[in-house]
Structures are given as structure tokens and as C-alpha cells.
Subunit: 189 residues, 2 copies
Amino acid sequence: MKLETRKEEIIKTATKLFKEKGYSAVTMRDIAKAMGIKAASLYNHINSKQHILRDIIISLAEEFTNGMQTVQLSEVSSIEKLRLIVALHVKITANSTYGMASLNNDWMHLEEQLDYYLELRDTYEENFRNILREGIKKNEIINSNLEIMLFSMLSTLRSLYLWIPKKEDLNTEELTQNLSHMLINGINK
Amino acid sequence: MKLETRKEEIIKTATKLFKEKGYSAVTMRDIAKAMGIKAASLYNHINSKQHILRDIIISLAEEFTNGMQTVQLSEVSSIEKLRLIVALHVKITANSTYGMASLNNDWMHLEEQLDYYLELRDTYEENFRNILREGIKKNEIINSNLEIMLFSMLSTLRSLYLWIPKKEDLNTEELTQNLSHMLINGINK
DNA sequence: AATAGTAACTAACAAGTGTTAGTTTATTGT
DNA sequence: ACAATAAACTAACACTTGTTAGTTACTATT
């Protein structure tokens, strides 16, 4: 059983750099330099640049998939399910702020795992859509354009990684509360 | 007076490719190939790859700056101003779907013009913030966390480019209407 | 017919790319 | 003390990158 701490350090460093400049603009020499070693040394711990991206994106995508599963199984109202989804996004994003940038912006650079990623994403969106649909059916949610509601909420949740790091004193509970309220009730007085 | 149609074709082609893979991952040979010519031929019309990015991003950023100016000068309620901002985003995004991807994801690859871009962006956000602030003061908008409201609305508006192309039968009027309603009143019944 | 402008080409460059091979050094468990 | 492992190194590879130089062909204006 390996501890793999060095490998994790590399992935962590790469994740930070990927957020700043994107996967394609970051070179193996950039990653090595940030760690104070030579590029060739990275290959004692990782298989390829592509594998780093894969590790970052797929693990996050699976976290979302698992979280959505839990939300679906919980026996609460549709509105409450939406609140749980907001909480899920806040939690994952707060723990992996940098990685969320890759998930959002570099997924198209996945090679072998691209199809798998797209499958996870499509399924996630479809589950989200179904929760909204159910809410409309049960008269908890306004019967407005389904896709626009989905798009609007997902956009905000997916962009969270851009805002969260700015708050030093992040209270995830409070953020979840405020954000849910805004997405559900709007800003009108 | 030059017509520059060829230059515009190059920028248009590049914009499309930039949206698919990002600025860094698109090569001059990619752009040339998409036009059926050789990479060196591009330089008869453009100065550099960097200048292409500059053209795409700065012109869009200035469009937003100008639009915001108009909104500020209009003598309507704060809520109505927000509706005008939504309309501005929908209009620009519908006209430049591909370019919006660069504006959102590749601005950090700007070189000489990076500071200018950041200035435009900061000013835009500050103006947006002031409209919300005024709305709260005049009791049109709930007195909730200002930054979260700003973040939430901007995220949705900035992500519009990802959804708009999926709608073939885009009715910008209707989209603006639905989106404004959602952002202002939420989804609660 | 001569000129200028537009737009393509081939060939080449210097620098940078991800990655491999082979080696050295330090640490750790027996 | 020995062997094994982890983790770094140098050197090099084949390929790709943005870009320049110099040239050729076509078209429109004088």
C-alpha cells in the first residue's frame, strides 16, 4: 500500500496552475518548477500530463454523481432537494476550488475518459431536470421554461469556484442558505 | 479604406476554434487548415495570434461597457435596469456566441491588453453592484447579501453562451423575459 | 502595357513541447 | 552492513509551436 503523498502534491500543484492558465497553457516544466524539481522527475510519480487532468476531473465528476444520488434518495420536497443540491455544490467547491476550474473549463481536453465524463455530466443534468419537473408537477415550482430554470441554477452553481476563494471567512452554511434563497425566491421585494 | 473581409474571416474562424478548445490549444496551423490555406498565409492579414485574441475580447468587452453606460443613463427603476442588463447580455451573446467563450475563458492569455481588460471588467461589475445597491436603498430589492446577488446574476448571464446555441428557434425577446423573471422572482410558486 | 495590391505559396528558424533512458543520491527496513 | 526503494538528476528524442523571408500568381487601376 503506497502513501502516494508525492503524487498528490504534484496533482495539487498542477490543479492550481491549471486554474490560472488552463490545462493547455501549463507545461510539465511549469509544474516541476513550481515544486522546485525538474520536469523529468515528475514521471517517477505520474504517468502523463493527461493522467493528471483525468485524476482532477473524474474524481470531482464522480463526487457530484454520488451526491446527486443521495439527494434523489432523500424523501423531501422538490424545493428541499434543490437546497440539498446547492449544499452539495458549495461543499465540493469549497473543498476543491481549484479543481472546479478544470472541471468547468478543461474537460474537453480529456482523451480516453471524455465519453465517460460526458455521460456523467449528462446524467447529472437529467437528474437535476427531473427534480425541477417533479416540483412543477407537484405545484411547488412555477411552470415556467424548464430549460431556462435549469440553465440559470446550474450556471450559478458551476461558477461558484470563481467567487468562493474571495471570501476568507467562508461560512458554508450561510452561503448555502443565502444562495438557495436567492435561486428559489429571487431578489424581488 | 480597406474592406478587411479576409481578416474578418480569419478572426471568425479562430473564434469558433477558440470556443471549442481554448486559445492555447488552437494553433495557427489549425486556423489555417480550417480555412484551407497554409499557416504562413494568415500573416498577410493579421499581425499575430495574440492580436486575434485581442480583437475578439476587447471589442466584446467594450460592447458591454457601452451597453452598461446606456443602462445607467436611462431613467427607470432599479428592477427595470436589471431587465435592461439581461437584455444587453442576451443581445450581445446571441450575436457573438463563440466570442463569449473567449471573453469568459481566455482573457488571462491577453498580454499588453490584460490590464485594460481587467479595468473594463472591474468597472462593469462595480456599475452592476451600484444598481443593486440603489435598488436595495429604494426598497425595490431585498436587503440580502449584495455580493451573492451580484455573483448569482452575473454567473447566469456570463454562461449564456453555453445555452444559447442549443436553441435553434431563439426568440431573444422571450428569453430576456423569462430570464429576467427568473433572476428577479426566483422559481418559487 | 505597366503598376500596385491582394493573397496565396515553400522553406526554414529558434524555441518550446511531452516524454524516455539511464544514472545518482538519500533514506529505510532487515 | 546490505539491499531495496523513493526521488531526484542530466541528456536527449522527436515533434510542434509561432513566426519570418522570399517568391509567385491573379486582379484591378492607371
